[in-house]
Symmetry: C2
Subunit: 209 residues, 2 copies
Amino acid sequence: MSKISKKIVERLIIYRRCLIRSSVNSNNTHIFSHQLAKKSGASSAQVRRDIMGLGYSGSPAYGYEIKSLVDSIGKFIDPVKREKIAIIGLGNLGKAIVDYFNKQSLEMEIVAAFDTNPEKVNRVLMGCKSYHIKEMKSIIKEYDIQTAILCIPSINAQEVTDELIESGIKGILNYAPINLNVPLNIYVENLDMIAIFEKVSYFARKNNK
Amino acid sequence: MSKISKKIVERLIIYRRCLIRSSVNSNNTHIFSHQLAKKSGASSAQVRRDIMGLGYSGSPAYGYEIKSLVDSIGKFIDPVKREKIAIIGLGNLGKAIVDYFNKQSLEMEIVAAFDTNPEKVNRVLMGCKSYHIKEMKSIIKEYDIQTAILCIPSINAQEVTDELIESGIKGILNYAPINLNVPLNIYVENLDMIAIFEKVSYFARKNNK
DNA sequence: TACTGTGAACTCCTTCACAGCG
DNA sequence: CGCTGTGAAGGAGTTCACAGTA
């Protein structure tokens, strides 16, 4: 059960989104691997293999039962209780992310934001309260927050990361374009929007070759 | 020269960023593979292999000459002329992205934005003019824009994508959480921020196992 | 008949390990 | 020496192809 790779987790999350959308948009109760493949952008063999990894089984006659497959993925992926998230940095990007996340009703919510700018603290945006960064450690511990989104300039990113780890954070989604040094038990995902765009531009010019 | 995979392109972009930063922050003219590895988060063998793919050579005594390596990567990755980008959707996220991209002085710029909301058109944000989406096709052709950033609700994403392709767009950075159907010669990169965060949350709970 | 579940093959990516060199 | 460049090994991820099944 535990040998589920990063790639498979990524796809399971996408499958679930597709399944939920298709159960809302149609009243089909079942779906075949090739249909889910089409919707998600994966191959049908991959869909079957990934679902196999969950221990879930479909039927050759009807395919997968959407509702129970969604539950199986959820049981595997989701936290037991509602996830509380912190965000560091309330520049335009940080604010847009708070808005974007908290607008959707997900099993997760950005509950606390931190910034150094006095004008940005002690406000509330989409249910998220903002604090001065010097309060970060105590607030994160108080709320028992496990994951953080980092939206600050690269120059401060390592320093703030060290504090986040001291505060008990276990996962970081890092928008700063810099590699963070962290202990092995901390998960960091780098999301460098400029670098990703440069890649798109490169392959666009090469006609996706 | 042409067998450079997606993964290698991603890392070359990161290496270049690290090299430029380190030539600004110190006055070293050379760098060893293990130093660049540390800065970029790759392994030293990977750094050497990726650079080998460029056809660039370092010296065992001094490592790689930073300036000429940056040039080699640029010659490989960069467009010949300054890249013009379109963005579709001027919600909070779209606006933040325009601001974030155009604040940096890069070899690329978001020059045109499109939205359906009349209040959002005919404005200028960070050098980017906004238009009603019905003008999209003509403006994209006029500016000869090759790549677009899609920041609109999933429900409209496929329809707008089809129009983008008709307009001559070759690459799309898609922030909408949906798989787009496009011809094989069009490059699409999906950037589903919620899905990425769900992954961070999952691996944070598993202690990065 | 058309699907799932899956061993086996295959392709792609990463790391090892060492010859060659300044 | 300690580095680069690289053949070869190893590992991860994907696809093939087909037996089993309703």
